[in-house]
Symmetry: C2
Subunit: 100 residues, 2 copies
């Protein structure tokens, strides 16, 4: 398994627009091979912050998803709404609840 | 929904022991009301680091789980293996893939 978790800071006032793009990405990933989890979260009291957690069958499945046309289009839509991606970690899931 | 994501640093050499305790916790949470996700992850090249991501139906469900006897016992087992919990965030999931 392969995972990523990371913080995205939206441009001021653009968090909700960026959340919409990311939820469309999650929907597009419904068809992606090996995508187990793609959770979009907000952080209380941090009005521009978004937190994404992804779990994939493999790093290769994650990389391949970035080439999907729908995901490429959403990256283009989302990029202007992002101020910074300040923290991002590779986290290799070893088990737990809610995974296949 | 309610979520938490956070980094735990194990005492030197104790990461694998702590992972085992956390996976037992994930198993115990199989019976907990409203626990959707409890993923235990490791971070490449960070030999003492563990990353936990949890998603719950509500903050109240999360709080209630801390009173379960099995979880209390696992907190007692795990605490001596923990060096520090350096970062922890409340992340309120707004949607995505892999959630109920």
């Amino acid at each position: 398994m392969y995972g990523r978790t990371g913080k995205i800071i939206a441009q001021p006032g653009q968090r909700d627009a960026l959340v919409k793009v990311l939820l469309r990405a999650a929907e597009a990933l419904g068809e992606a091979e090996g995508c187990y989890l793609y959770v979009v979260g907000q952080v209380p009291d941090e009005t521009d912050m978004i937190w994404i957690t992804e779990v994939w069958r493999s790093a290769a499945d994650h990389r391949a998803s970035l080439d999907l046309e729908a995901i490429q289009a959403l990256i283009r839509d989302g990029r202007p709404l992002i101020a910074s991606m300040t923290e991002s970690y590779e986290v290799i899931p070893v088990g737990g609840k809610g995974l296949p």
